[in-house]
């Protein structure tokens, strides 16, 4: 079994077998981070470039650590310190980076479709680390991995995804991921944060968070992304916290052994109370740990085999 593709761009394009392969491979790589010597020589001599056009701590660090623990050389380029500031276009930047012969470019960009565009133009592998409000495939893979670790299976689980669905690439990738594996996903948020046609992705849609949380096995909260909206979608953060924020009382509606997830960074007291975020049901930090293992698996499966020249 192999991942027969040059790039990882979306969850939508992945088959069930491919998702299974990535998750199984990630389980092996998780052990690497638990040793004293957190490094294997698997991808020595490879070069991986993190090209981030949007701020990120967790995801960029996670990709960088994943690359380094496999002995590849990781280079980080962030918007603030790049030639973008001098007016260079994205495709020129990408072509110049490719001229230095990297094996993989990890890209995050505010515009949906950017990784696809790069993947078409570049012969190296491209990994989508989040494109606009489109997809964030490695986040969904690490969420699947984390849920599977705790629940052993995904099929027939009830998953609640709550928050600003319209602007959330995490929500989109996770709806694709969990419905593909047979879970029942309910997306909830204020009407202003639910995109039209959402149910066509195969999930239930509601404006009532309690309906989504009721008997849920997994409650996934999304960040209220103040940088992506003019704040006209909700009256106030306080109002949002009261109606949609996950507190102990709302969480009590979920299944007894429910788990709480959040892609981070969290706004304490807005979409989730500190009590729940730091509570025993919360897997927020485990998600971060698992992110490294999943990204190692993605690098391994994309860069491990030799690719025939097109």
């Amino acid at each position: 079994m192999r991942l027969d593709r040059k790039d990882l761009l979306t969850i939508k394009d992945l088959s069930l077998d491919e998702i299974g392969l990535i998750l199984d491979t990630a389980a092996s790589f998780k052990e690497v981070s638990e040793k004293d010597i957190k490094k294997v020589p698997t991808l020595r001599g490879r070069t991986i470039i993190n090209l981030f056009y949007e701020p990120s701590t967790r995801t960029r660090t996670s990709f960088e650590i994943a690359a380094k623990r496999m002995s590849s050389d990781a280079i980080n380029i962030s918007l603030a310190a790049s030639s973008v500031k001098k007016g260079e276009t994205l495709s020129d930047t990408a072509r110049n980076l490719e001229a230095m012969r990297p094996d993989c470019i990890v890209v995050r960009h505010g515009s949906a479709g950017t990784p696809q565009m790069l993947a078409r133009h570049l012969s190296c592998s491209v990994v989508n680390a989040g494109d606009g409000a489109h997809e964030h495939p490695t986040q969904a893979l690490l969420d699947l991995f984390t849920v599977k670790e705790h629940k052993k299976h995904i099929k027939d689980l009830k998953i609640a995804i709550i928050g600003d669905i319209t602007h959330s690439r995490v929500a989109r990738s996770n709806i694709y991921a969990f419905t593909k594996l047979g879970a029942r996903v309910t997306a909830a948020g204020p009407r202003t944060m639910l995109p039209p046609g959402l149910s066509s992705l195969g999930c239930e849609v509601t404006t009532d968070p309690r309906e989504a949380i009721k008997n849920a096995d997994v409650v996934m909260m999304l960040r209220i992304q103040s940088e992506r909206q003019n704040n006209s979608a909700i009256p106030s953060a306080r109002e949002y916290a009261r109606v949609y924020g996950l507190d102990k009382e709302k969480l009590s509606l979920a299944a007894k052994d429910a788990i709480v997830m959040h892609p981070g960074p969290i706004n304490r007291g807005v979409e989730i109370t500190p009590e729940v975020a730091d509570g025993t049901k919360s897997l927020i930090l485990e998600q971060v740990t698992n992110g490294v293992a999943v990204r190692m698996a993605v690098f391994y499966l994309l860069l491990g085999p030799v690719r025939e020249e097109d």
């Binding site: 192999r2 294997v40 020589p41 491990g304």
Partner: protein
């Protein structure tokens, strides 16, 4: 394709018993012994050796598995990234006598990779190698300390070890062509 059986179940059993006796003879302090099999079949053979050592000495030695895949030298050369297998180092290997266990010793490259993997887990007193079959054709300066059976082969032949745990049958055969 022609195949020839070179060991049947009984011969395998005897070879493993002899390996267990040899390991015990060479290692007086059995408490310092750790058997680490190379998955898939080596890991099961390590378990069998543990059972046989228990019969001989009445003591259960630590047993585990060391997957060398991440340390292989052919990643990025083959069309497929090799499938990762189980890694299970149950005890600290610092100062221990580690006996690597595999079914077939061929080029020695897997053993090299396994030794590198082990070094990242600790600093064993020494590493020994036990194999059920040595078929020759080493590509690295590696030699087994305990050999169940030497089977001279040509480069084009393949040697296959079947064990009950994974294959439902215990047998070693040589076939005219490699996989």
């Amino acid at each position: 394709m022609s195949t020839a059986t070179v060991m049947d179940a009984q011969q395998m059993e005897r070879a493993l018993s002899r390996l267990a006796h040899e390991i015990v003879e060479k290692n007086n302090n059995i408490n310092d012994l750790v058997l680490l099999g190379i998955p898939t079949r080596g890991a099961f053979l390590a378990l069998r050796l543990r059972d046989k050592i228990k019969e001989i000495k009445g003591h259960t030695v630590a047993v585990g598995a060391v997957d060398a895949t991440m340390y292989r030298d052919d990643i990025g050369i083959k069309k497929e990234a090799p499938t990762l297998k189980e890694m299970d180092i149950p005890v600290s290997i610092d100062g221990k006598v580690v006996v690597l266990v595999d079914d077939v010793l061929f080029t020695g490259r897997t053993i090299r990779a396994a030794m590198n993997a082990l070094m990242d887990f600790g600093r064993p007193l020494c590493i020994r190698l036990a194999v059920l079959v040595d078929r020759g054709h080493r590509e690295l300066p590696i030699k087994a300390d305990y050999v169940g059976k030497n089977i001279p082969t040509s480069m084009t032949e393949g040697v296959k070890v079947l064990i009950g745990e994974t294959d439902g049958i215990n047998e070693v055969y040589v076939k005219a062509e490699q996989d």
